[in-house]
């Protein structure tokens, strides 16, 4: 089982990103998934988070995620708002970052086994779909094709096409370190 924490801010589509990862894994990659809701205030700009679990078998666990196998950071400035991105991480944890610079330059680079970065804000409005695609590229835990199908399921025909384009471009643009 893989456990994820998604860190972002209200308005960045964090909850939708969690749902798309879960749909991609459970419906289109044939595994099991759950996305655990954020218990935070629904305010634009405020720190929000969500949890995802991915597994080959049905998932019993219903608690929050305390020791993530991967974190997705939708805004690299979250630590300045008091968000502790290192909480529960180990040397085996992977990080996926929304940021325009090389992941090797990130201040916490050495605390993670692997870091993937994509300039998600530059790829089209809300960064969530680009982040999901970068997550797919960095970890391989969900396939890009499954992400694309999940995006179509969630956004319908028109939004689906646009977001598929964002996902494919973000997948290619993800830089690994």
């Amino acid at each position: 089982m893989k456990q994820l924490i998604l860190y972002g801010r209200g308005g960045q589509g964090v909850v939708t990103a969690a749902k798309i990862i879960a749909i991609a894994a459970a419906v289109y990659d044939g595994g099991y998934a759950q996305a655990v809701p954020a218990f935070t205030a629904e305010r634009r700009g405020a720190p929000v988070y969500a949890y995802v679990r991915l597994s080959d078998s049905p998932i019993d666990l219903k608690s929050f995620v305390y020791e993530p196998d991967a974190i997705l950071v939708f805004d690299h400035e979250l630590p300045s708002l008091g968000v502790d991105l290192l909480k529960g991480v180990s040397r085996d944890t992977t990080a996926v970052l929304n940021w325009s610079k090389a992941p090797s330059q990130w201040e916490f680079r050495d605390r993670f086994s692997r870091v993937g970065a994509v300039d998600a804000d530059a790829l089209g409005g809300i960064p969530n779909i680009a982040m999901v695609a970068a997550f797919s590229r960095t970890t391989g835990w969900v396939s890009l094709e499954a992400v694309v199908k999940a995006v179509h399921e969630v956004f319908g025909e028109k939004g689906g096409r646009h977001n598929e384009d964002v996902a494919r471009r973000a997948f290619e643009a993800t830089v690994l370190a």
Partner: protein, 393 residues
């Protein structure tokens, strides 16, 4: 059909597949999206039902009572103080033997105000003649609605039923769910066949009238009998559900109780977290078992007694505050074990109030405390409030 959906959507699918005919509902967090999804189904034409927008939960259940009296299959949903506002009517539904099914997305009762999960809302109804089923995951939230109608409408039962899903932990959990085929549900759940009393303007009768001391006891006794019969009807309904859909449920579901020295008893979504922990503990040689209460009412006393009799140590987790008593689940488990000799030692815990998560680390603490009594936890009536922070003691 495999989908990813949250518990509220799963409940709405369960109601649609049950072909509910009347849905009176009033919004409240975290239930609201159940009623909203059903309203969408009705407006899109995928569910042929009457949606009644009412001005309060009191009215929602009153309308449910009227529609059920008229012979319809009725569904509603609520949470927390919404359920509290219904309580004038909850006894009417059971006393008049109306098989209404109500989903409750469990949310703490105030005060202080909370939007988040605990079981203090449904626990207030434990003696009201409503069957209560607690889902562990979103699949069960869907399945239990269908099973609830089947049991509630059984001629031997004719009682209302609550399907409880933990607020946020299930109501808003996106989970992997298999949606049953309509034809299979139709095979399992035939249209409602109303009992002896159906309101019909062509043939007026009075129901729920002032009843004197000479009949009141008899009336209540028949409700108690209906609840008693529901035990057997539930098991038949669960077993036939497995025949049609392949998913096996029961009023009590155990994991590893056969050889367990310690047994953990719990309700709702917490069971998954407990089972996951027990798998790890058993792999390291610790004989721990899970005794999961699915049907909290009627309470399965005999099966609890049988499963827990051989254990040395029983842990009961109440996700409801015990104020002036031990927790409700703890009371029931102790009553089930009464008279056993030798009897297991029972240790109660109050955990997970007002949305507080119950991490496995807290379950491990509870386990250690139940065996060694080492740990300085605040307690009332010997029941440990293990999650109270030291500063609040």
């Amino acid at each position: 059909m495999r989908k990813v959906m949250d518990g509220n959507t799963a409940v709405a699918y369960g109601a649609r597949l049950s072909r509910v005919q009347v849905v009176p509902a009033y919004p409240i967090t975290p239930q609201s999206s159940i009623a909203e999804t059903l309203a969408d189904f009705i407006s899109q034409g995928s569910l042929k039902a009457k949606f009644l927008r009412v001005e309060s939960e009191h009215s929602a259940l009153s309308a449910a009572v009227g529609a059920s009296f008229a012979g319809a299959r009725v569904f509603t949903a609520t949470s927390s103080v919404g359920l509290a506002l219904m309580t004038e009517i909850t006894g009417v539904a059971s006393g008049c033997r109306l098989p209404i099914v109500m989903a409750v997305a469990n949310r703490a009762l105030c005060s202080p105000w909370s939007l988040w999960c605990d079981h203090s809302d449904t626990m207030t109804l434990r003696d009201q003649g409503w069957i209560q089923l607690y889902a562990e995951n979103c699949q069960e939230a869907l399945d239990f609605v269908i099973i609830a109608f089947r049991v509630a409408e059984d001629q031997l039962v004719q009682l209302p039923c609550i399907v409880a899903e933990d607020g946020f932990f299930l109501s808003h959990l996106q989970d992997t769910v298999t949606v049953p085929a309509q034809e299979d549900v139709d095979r399992y759940l035939p249209p409602r066949c109303p009992g002896y009393l159906v309101l019909d303007p062509e043939s007026p009768v009075a129901a729920n009238i002032l009843t004197g001391p000479h009949l009141f006891t008899e009336d209540k006794y028949t409700v108690a009998l209906g609840m008693e019969r529901a035990r057997t009807v539930l098991e038949t309904a669960f077993s036939e559900f497995a025949d049609v859909f392949g998913r096996k449920y029961s009023s009590v579901m155990d994991y590893g109780c056969d050889d367990a020295e310690t047994i953990i008893v719990s309700l709702g979504s917490l069971n998954g977290t407990v089972r996951d922990l027990i798998k790890k503990l058993r792999a390291s040689g610790q004989k721990v078992g899970l005794l999961r209460i699915v049907a909290y009412r009627p309470f399965p006393y005999e099966r609890v007694r049988k499963l827990a009799a051989k254990a040395k140590n029983v842990i009961v987790i109440d996700r409801a505050p015990a104020l002036g008593e031990i927790g409700p689940l703890n009371q029931d488990v102790r009553a089930a074990l009464y008279g056993l000799y030798p009897a297991p030692q029972v240790t109660g815990f109050v955990l997970g109030l007002g949305g507080r998560d119950i991490p496995q680390s807290d379950l491990v603490k509870a386990l250690e405390y139940s065996i060694s009594r080492n740990g300085d936890y605040p307690a009332t009536y010997g029941e440990a409030w293990l999650q109270v922070e030291v500063s609040a003691k």
